[in-house]
Symmetry: C2
Subunit: 140 residues, 2 copies
């Protein structure tokens, strides 16, 4: 039986997750990639090297993040948040986000560990999704 | 190290998978949902009850399916196919696809088992994504 999750229940799925699928629009086509993320004060934080998703989100900042917990075809939950892409620019803020990501993902690459200490390094883009809508469903 | 997969390698990821994340565009926003699928002769086949994703794909048939194999943050592959949404309408074709899905997903719900035998049942939408582009990346 499929059940609509409350916003609070959907938020629990997002909070509990670390890996989600980011959806954005690239040249009028949907584009989906897996990302690691953390949720802090209503925003999704992550980072990325330059590439298709960053180019797409810079042009069209409306994005979503889908997170699921799947036991089997009959027992799963999926939540999705919608929001706007924002790049974190100030070195101090980049450093804080990267340190926080390092804490959540201790196995980040050496490059990223260095970045957390030298946040002026421009290679990685640090960004957040300012969430303004959330929904979810559960099959149980 | 992130490596671009060849089309053949990306196709292997899609072939090996059963669960993917469908991306579509809903009212100018990206929308992502997990789906079970099978790949047959260059098309992704799946089914769904009516709802947001079906409404969205009927209005804008350009969609993608992202599939990944994730061991950890340093060892993963992700592939994505892009294509056009098409509904399977003729009862004979619906029946064939549903039987094939039942074979791939033996735990489909009783409703769907019944549908495979009575493909005229209109509740579930049977559809395919006719793939015309594929790409993928690997972290290793």
């Amino acid at each position: 039986m499929t059940v609509i999750l409350s916003e609070a229940e959907a938020l629990e799925v997002i909070k509990a997750g670390k890996l989600g699928r980011l959806g954005c629009i690239d040249k009028n086509e949907p584009y989906v990639v897996p990302i690691n993320y953390m949720l802090v004060e209503g925003s999704i934080y992550s980072h990325s090297l330059p590439g298709t998703k960053i180019d797409a989100m810079r042009l069209n900042p409306r994005v979503c993040l889908q997170v699921d917990e799947i036991d089997d075809e009959f027992h799963w939950r999926s939540a999705i948040v919608f929001g706007n892409y924002e790049e974190i620019q100030p070195p101090k803020d980049r450093r804080e986000v990267l340190r926080n990501l390092l804490y959540h993902f201790p196995k980040l690459t050496p490059v990223e560990s260095v970045m957390a200490h030298d946040a002026a390094a421009p290679d990685s883009i640090v960004f957040r999704i300012v969430v303004n809508r959330i929904s979810g469903v559960e099959e149980r």
